[in-house]
Amino acid sequence: MTAAELDAVRLSLSVALRSVLVSLPFAVLVAWLLTRRKLRGKLLLDVLVHLPLVLPPVVVGYLLLLVFGVRGPIGQWLDEAFGVQLIFTTGGAALATAVMSFPLVVRAIRLSLEGIDRGLEDAARTLGAGAWDRFFTITLPLMLPGILAGSVIAFAAGLGEFGAVITFASNIPGETRTLPLALYTALQTPGGETLAARLAGISIALGLMGLVAAELIARRMHTALGR
């Protein structure tokens, strides 16, 4: 692989990994709220979470620009308080990717949460476990298959996020030019067909590896939980 290709692969992996790390805690919280809590505006929350699935990614990127841009409400605060800028940075690419894959993670976690027998939490309660104790010793471990499955899928999908990233974080070599952006750039460049083909091949290989890993992890978890 050439230095540019390596850069793109490294960036893609880093962006995808960071996006998963950013979205996981929120995804667990939202999944838990949606399955376990009776709250007003549940439908609204549900719809909001799933919006990135149906919106054009460019729209998501645009909305992120409005909120996290230098003059956006959160972007401005981050800049003034911490000197952190998200647009045109790897961090920004990770944020855009996280928002796009968020519904996938929430779905996977929610599914596993719905499959947990709530009676187990009641049992833990009668055995003296308080709310946090129950969450960390019973609920969270039993959610693990969903969390892992969701993470792997989000990671694999994150490797290929294009529209939201290019809109929000732009296409800067070594900073935000991930695999799909590099591929797109190669196609736009005269004589870039060979590079494009190689990048496409790498993308396919990474995607396949992600899916196989997801399957293997799922099997192992099921054996561990005896299902």
């Binding site: 027998d117 009676g119 187990l120 009641d122 049992a123 833990a124 309660r125 009668t126 055995l127 003296g128 476990a129 308080g130 104790d133 010793t137 019973i138 471990p141 039993l142 561990a224 939980l225 005896g226 299902r227």
Partner: protein, 368 residues
Amino acid sequence: MFKIRTTVRREHFTLEVSIEMANPGVLALFGHSGCGKTTLVNIIAGLLKAEESYVEIDGVVLENTAAKVYVQAEQRRIGYVFQDARLFPHFSVAGNLSYGLRRARADTPRMSFDSVVSLLGLERVLERRPHQLSGGERQRVALGRALLSQPRVLLLDEPLASLDAARREEVLPYLERLRDELSIPIIYVSHQFEEVLRLATHVALMADGRSTAQGPLETLSLHPQLRSIVGPEGIGAVLVGLVEAADEQTGLAAVRIGENILKVNLRGIRPGARVRIHLLARDVILATMRPEALSVRNILQGTISRIGADDSDTDLVYVDLGGARVLARVTRAASIALALRVGMPVWVLVKSVSIRGHAYVSNTPDRE
């Protein structure tokens, strides 16, 4: 000691219960499925909130709506064994057992890990995962887990209901052992009279969300309310007696009940043991003269103390046998033909083979 009063009102269901039991033992909550037994135990455990409730166990008030006292479930120290075991699938048996133990307050270690493991015969399954256990083993682990949380009371919600007959027979001796060897009071929910008969010392009857009668099992076995639950075939006197002699050759044990000796088909029991026997009303025959040359082993003399109509064709006749009272179910036709009336002396005939007897205190077999 328990004192439980509670009221729950739901759209299609009302629960109004008042139960008191002075001395520890096994209190059976007995009633049809859907009469509110599980709702009641969930209230006792603190998993369900009632509109009005007073729950006192062992002198500690866990819930008193009037005084705004409400102890959270995790603070109640109630050992709840659920119908479906509810073992944690991601822990081994040992991990499940110590879950409650690790969270119990250190100042009250009544039960040690090893003693519970040996009491329930779990030595060989400690490393297994719940899905590798049989149904009976699962319930035993659930029992152990509850015991190790150092509870004030054990709450057993139909722990045998999900098991087949053979597995039930495997778990029952362990429950008898808990009753006889530990001093923890037990609330046992069941709709099987057979289980109540083997385990309970006291019974609270429940019907349609109400507690209708309560008392020692022997007293309650003659209660008309019980008939509506066990049906005409299941009703009969429960008596406690002392084994005076046991003949291993004939398999007949002589059991003293009040002034009488009953011969009961019962093996593997030693003289001096206390047994509880169930005389089904349908198996008791009445005669106005002492019969001769019969295969029946038990012919006892008594006096009719009460006659009540059971249904349109049959009567329930209560007979006092010096210190004990039995119940006979006879057809109205027979009742008229023999001119049965209160105060009349009668002979009570019971076949030894139709008496079901259970060791009552200790004398439980060691298995495994």
